[in-house]
Amino acid sequence: MYRYVISGLSVLSDLELPGLIALPDPAGTPDVRLHAQAVATDLPEATERGPNWQIAPDRFTIEVPGVVRMAISDGRDIAYELLDGTMPEDAAIFLSGTGFGILLHQRGRIVLHASAVRVNGHAVLFCGQSGAGKSTLAAALVEAGYDLVTDDFCGIALRDDGLPWVEPDGRQLKLWQVSIDRLSLADRTTAPVRTQLEKFYVEPRTVISSALPLAAVYVLREARPPDAPGIERPNIVDGALLIRRNAYRPQMVERMGQEALYFQAAATINQRAGVFTLTRAMDFNQFPEVIGWLESHWRTLGLLEQPG
């Protein structure tokens, strides 16, 4: 059996999940169990069905056709069935990513499609849909000395102190070959994310295991006309909309009736941290400049000290 901590939850798995770093063995009963089990194709109590998924009040089934079928139940159990002779290493990313992201939605957690780094004891998030450049920007920031907090999705807890906190993952970055080459990360590159993909896990420099207060959320945008490059703060309504649209699976928020939850979280994040847009060219050569913008923005937010 393997033990991991994902978004602050202890996980007991009968399958190795590459890309997750086993953190110190959590005592007691695990929060989540991940195990092999036959998963029925039909979920009779489903209230809604998609091309490859079915949703019921406490249960969600989803199939990656030809790879794996999963049933995610009560926010604490992920059963999986490998399909068509798929090797576990070709299915694991769908369990630790898609499956776990859905489980977090099921638990009513705020979960954003984001990668995060640590800036002076705080978490700074970079949101965007698949392909927006979250992981690559996080990797460039890690090289600039900011430790990785999480990759791809980010659980946020609203604590009694009224602050939003980010639960770290102990998760490796997932980067495409071109990013690994351009950022010279070959020496820390490990297994492919799937055997046929030129996308690999890259070890972070440091593993962070304790929760961090959330300081800022940046929604990544490509600089394309007429949007000019730079960092901007949208108005409160747009900021709230951006948070909801950058939920890990916005469709889940809607289908599980969690709009109010996200609206409240967005208000808190806006008030206690800040929601910004970061518009930049999708160009590796621009990283030093973009990191410069971020650092100067962090100074204005009081995250970094003013120079001199």
Partner: protein, 306 residues
């Protein structure tokens, strides 16, 4: 029946112009070229796949994605609402017009990649003289004209086909200019109407109206003429000059590199743009389909073959 109409074309054949014409129908002011739906405006957008399947297409190989794409379009056809609330497709007259650069093909399971008749009620195929495409495609891809001619003749050409990175769109296979057009003209799943770019230039309102009529949409002559004025080529160039065009390839600017997306918009520009050898190569590569679509061979090559 589905309300989807595919606007199919080989790249650089006038698809964006046609979409802008449709988007300008029934309007009092010209559509902002940057307000056209981008991420959900094309069949190969990843957003649709990811929103329908609830797992990222970026974790699949091109081959795995292709196998699942028919399901995505069936889900799209069945849903009345777009995936992103603020990104409407180009809708007019009760139809959703969606651009596609995918050749009409079938998956390994024998399903139409784009879902067949269950997904779309009609297709409008926009074709353009391949000799005019060559220069425009070279400009678009940032390659030489000779490389563009090779791309148009190679059976394994594609857009967004790289494997070392995640491109913003799913792979679109372009098995030669001739093969692309043949795939749409000869498929038997969806009624298809082809529009020649050259005819659209000559009689924009008339050709637009005929294409819409084919798709079962009645529109007045006056509405077509208004749309034609709003989407006139110099008006589009003017908008691009003032604000840029977000669908232009990276690194292309109106005033700087490569002269802009709305580049020339002319028919027959190849006579000044291509060498005799380049013309001959395209005419040899694409001969049968050129004849079928009534693109006459140049006099020089007629002499050579005659």
């Amino acid at each position: 029946m589905s309300d989807i109409v595919w606007l199919a074309s080989y790249p650089k054949s006038g698809n964006t112009w046609f979409r802008l014409l449709v988007a300008n129908l029934g309007r009092d002011t010209p559509v902002d070229i940057n307000a056209l739906p981008e991420t959900s405006g094309i069949a190969s957008a990843r957003g649709w796949f990811d929103a329908a399947m609830l797992f990222p297409s970026g974790l699949l190989t091109h081959e795995e994605s292709d196998r699942l794409r028919p399901r995505v379009y069936r889900a799209l056809a069945a849903s009345a609402r777009p995936a992103e609330p603020d990104e409407q497709e180009t809708r007019f007259g009760g139809a959703r017009f969606i651009k596609s650069h995918d050749a009409y093909s079938y998956t390994v399971d024998g399903e139409a990649l784009l879902g067949g008749a269950e997904v779309a009620k009609a297709a409008i195929l926009i074709v353009r003289d391949p000799r005019d495409i060559a220069g425009s495609l070279a400009n678009h891809l940032g390659r030489s004209i000779d490389q563009a001619i090779d791309f148009m003749a190679a059976p394994d050409s594609s857009l967004s086909g790289r494997r070392d990175r995640q491109q913003s769109q799913l792979r679109q296979q372009l098995p030669t200019w001739a093969g692309y057009n043949r795939s749409w003209l000869d498929q038997g799943d969806i009624p298809v109407h082809h529009v020649r770019y050259e005819d659209l230039k000559t009689d924009t309102a008339g050709v637009l109206r005929a294409a819409l009529d084919f798709a079962g949409i009645e529109v007045s002559d006056a509405a077509c003429r208004q749309a034609v004025r709003f989407a006139a080529f110099d008006a589009l160039q003017q908008q691009e000059r003032e604000h840029g065009f977000r669908e232009a390839p990276r690194g292309m600017t109106r005033d700087g590199a490569r002269g802009g997306f709305f580049r020339r918009g002319v028919s027959g520009g190849w006579r000044e743009e291509l060498s005799v050898g380049q013309v001959a190569r395209i005419e040899a590569d694409q001969a049968v389909m050129m004849a079928r679509l009534s693109y006459e061979r140049s006099e020089g090559s007629e002499r050579m073959t005659g």
